[in-house]
């Protein structure tokens, strides 16, 4: 038996072994959030303020003012760009000459009810 044939045979044995042992029903896909990266869009909500990371800001090219939208049923928070003079406009970043930086937005009247609503039950003070 040649050396090549031996290798193929070993690989096939390992494959069959894995197929015999692996049961996808017992597995979970590890959520990406557990491997947080600065490149992924993320929002941090503390008890009293909210911050969108630079990745969010980078993805909304040139956008300085946004509106937040919240779906109480789905518990989804969405962001959409808006005009500076919009009644609900929020300046979510610090716009410098060459780049925009993340900005902490104070909002105790929002985060309080939000925590209650999502039933976070975690005291982050």
């Amino acid at each position: 038996m040649s050396e090549v044939q031996n290798n193929i045979s070993e690989k096939e044995e390992r494959r069959q072994e894995i197929q015999r042992v692996f049961n996808p029903d017992n597995c979970q896909v590890i959520r990406k959030e557990l491997f947080a990266s600065l490149r992924d869009p993320a929002v941090t909500i503390r008890n009293g303020n909210i911050t969108f990371n630079t990745a969010c800001i980078r993805d909304f090219e040139g956008v300085v003012y946004v509106r937040l939208l919240y779906d109480k049923q789905l518990k989804f928070l969405s962001v959409t760009e808006c005009d500076e003079n919009d009644k609900h406009a929020l300046r979510w970043c610090v716009a410098g000459a060459d780049k925009r930086k993340s900005r902490k937005m104070r909002c105790p009247d929002f985060t309080g009810p939000l925590f209650e609503h999502v039933n976070a039950g975690i005291n982050l003070t």
């Binding site: 937040l68 939208l69 959409t80 003079n85 929020l90 104070r106 909002c107």
Partner: protein, 610 residues
């Protein structure tokens, strides 16, 4: 005699012997200083007299002269008396001491030792107020100064003087009280039958039957005062003008002051009415009259409309007094405001408002707003629409920011934050407009000479400095319209809208953030065995609390179906002039101009006469 009886006789004998005294020749006597009664007879006294008549009519004047002459002759005729002075008060009531300069001077001279003895006709002439009378006489007595009343032959340094004096002074006061009662009764009867008093009044003479008839020359002065006042002249400016023309007052003076101008404006007789008992005298002793109006209306008032010929129309009189009630407004030298409404453009249905004017009610502003019908069809959707059913736009007010325009109103004060001023870039003067249908206030730029112009801030070293503004009229309207609490501070976020040169700020009044002061009573913990006096009292702590709108606790913001851009589709025309509502204004702009013209014509005549 038994032993007991003998002892008693001895004791009585001893007492008798003791009271026989010693031989007078053995005693040395030191004589006391001569009393005033003795001095009155023996030494030269400095004598003054006090004379008072209560009114200045001829009859009283003759009485006054008689008293002066009599006292002067008597004092000078007595070789033991040295004439000091005749102290007098003519036309002054005896019930109020503070008005009686003669009496006060006499007391002052007595204190300085210039007077030993005072002559007066009667207690009633001396004082009609028991307390004052007795206290003056008591003070004079302590100074060694006696008062002799001719009528009762009463001398205050006599032993019986004080008692008799108290009785007589009480009678004098009672007489005064009785006269006061009779006068009030008489006045009440006259007024209730429509027989009014006719005191001297600029613009009128009183004919033989006591009726008011117009004095044409004085009436010109009255007309000019009203015409100029409702055209924005202050009382001071009018007073200066009349003084410069040498126009005589009712008393013949040629110097006017703001008080006399205000007196003319507030007198209802100039529009033909009579209101009787605008003041009354609550205490016959003090003679101080107080205003009988509002919460202090303590006596019946009688009004008769069209009692006599008017000099100014009733609407002019009402307009002038409406202005007078708006003190802050009149200080700005602005003419009578005219109610108007914007009848087109993005501000259709908004009413320009002077923040200090208190003459229009919330209902009148409401009627003005509702006189224009606006629809929401004027808005169009631009760009893409994205379905976002189920979402709420999180309200921007959850995110406090100095960059968000805000307006704060307390009961009487108005303030815009710097963000408002920055939005307009270079606008120092703005006009405030109210829409009671939309419950919204709009701010638009205006010229400095706009009657409603608000100087809301200024640039200082390239930075905007905001002003705190008085807003009595606006606050009264809003607090009434929105049923706000007087003590609260109401803050509103604004929405800036711009389209080219058209710029405006909108403040919705529905959801204010309220700051108010609350009192909290804290009871300190008391130890069980604490004594009563060691117990600590309750402490009242005052703190400011913020009260968010109720909707903030039930929603995150405004429900939205589609994400879309809505815009006003018509011509914005932000600076569109407001349309005057003639039927709702006390006087129209044309009428104001006509009245100004009338004043100018009259003054031309004065110039020619001069």
């Amino acid at each position: 005699m038994i032993a007991g009886e003998k002892a008693a006789v001895d004791s009585k004998e001893k007492i008798r012997n003791r009271y026989k005294g010693v031989d007078p020749s053995e005693l040395e006597v030191i004589m006391p200083i001569a009393s005033d009664e003795v001095a009155l007879e023996n030494r030269k006294l400095k004598v003054a007299a006090y004379v008072r008549v209560s009114t200045e009519n001829d009859e009283q004047t003759s009485s006054y002269e008689l008293q002066v002459n009599d006292f002067t002759e008597r004092i000078k005729a007595n070789p033991n008396w040295e004439f000091v002075d005749i102290y007098s008060d003519e036309g002054i009531s005896g019930t109020e001491l503070s008005h009686r300069k003669g009496m006060l001077q006499m007391i002052e001279d007595a204190r300085a030792g210039k007077i030993d003895h005072i002559l007066a006709k009667s207690i009633a002439r001396f004082a009609r107020n028991v307390v004052d009378c007795l206290s003056i006489i008591d003070e004079l007595r302590k100074l060694g100064v006696g008062v002799h009343f001719d009528e009762n032959n009463l001398y205050t340094l006599d032993s019986t003087g004080a008692l008799v004096l108290t009785i007589l002074a009480t009678v004098a006061e009672e007489e005064s009280r009785s006269k006061s009662f009779i006068m009030n009764w008489s006045i009440e009867r006259r007024f209730s039958k429509g027989i009014f008093l006719t005191p001297k009044l600029l613009g009128y003479d009183v004919d033989e039957e006591g009726e008011l008839v117009v004095n044409p020359d004085e009436a010109e002065t009255v007309k000019v005062i009203y015409d100029l006042y409702i055209n924005g002249w202050s009382a001071t400016e009018i007073a200066d003008l009349l003084t410069s023309y040498g126009r005589p007052t009712k008393l013949g003076n040629e110097v006017w002051n703001p008080g006399s101008i205000n007196g003319v404006i507030e007198n209802e007789r100039h529009c033909g009415d009579v209101r009787a008992r605008k003041t009354y005298t609550p205490d016959f002793k003090t003679h101080k009259s107080v205003k009988n109006e509002g919460a202090n209306l303590k006596r019946k008032q009688y009004i008769q409309r069209n009692h006599h010929e008017a000099i100014v129309d009733r609407d002019v009189y009402n307009a002038a007094n409406m202005m007078r009630s708006s003190h802050i407004y009149t200080s700005k030298s602005r003419p009578l405001p005219v109610l108007s409404v914007i009848d087109g453009g993005i501000l259709s249905g908004y009413v320009p408002i002077d923040k200090n004017w208190t003459g229009f009610s919330a209902e009148e502003y409401q009627a003005a707003c509702e006189s224009i019908t606006t629809t929401s069809d004027d808005e169009v959707v631009e760009g893409k629409r994205l379905y976002m059913g189920g979402y709420e736009v999180v309200r921007g007010d959850f995110f406090p920011s100095h960059e968000r325009p805000a307006m704060t109103i307390t009961n009487g004060k108005l303030r815009f934050n710097t963000a408002c001023l920055k939005k307009f870039e270079d606008v120092e003067y703005v006009e405030l407009l109210l829409n009671t249908v939309k419950n919204c206030i709009a701010i638009r730029p205006c010229e400095k000479d706009n009657p409603n112009a608000i100087h809301w801030g200024h640039l200082r070293e390239e930075r905007w400095a905001v002003s705190t503004l008085s807003c009595r009229g606006l606050a009264r309207t809003l607090f009434d319209m929105m049923s706000w609490e007087d003590e609260g501070q109401y803050r509103f976020s604004g929405e800036f809208k711009a389209q080219g040169e058209n710029k405006l700020l909108l403040f919705e009044l529905g959801e204010p953030v309220i700051t108010k002061t609350v009192e909290q009573i804290v009871v300190p913990e008391q130890p069980d065995e604490a004594e009563e006096e060691e117990r600590q009292e309750e402490i009242v702590i005052r703190e400011k609390v913020r009260v968010n709108p109720p909707s903030w606790t039930t929603s995150f913001g405004v429900p939205v179906s589609y994400l879309e851009q809505r815009h006003y589709s018509g011509d914005w025309d932000v600076l569109r002039p407001a349309k005057e509502l003639e039927e709702m204004s006390p006087l129209t702009a044309d009428r104001l101009a006509a009245l100004m013209k009338e004043a100018e014509t009259i003054m031309e005549g004065w110039k020619k006469t001069a």
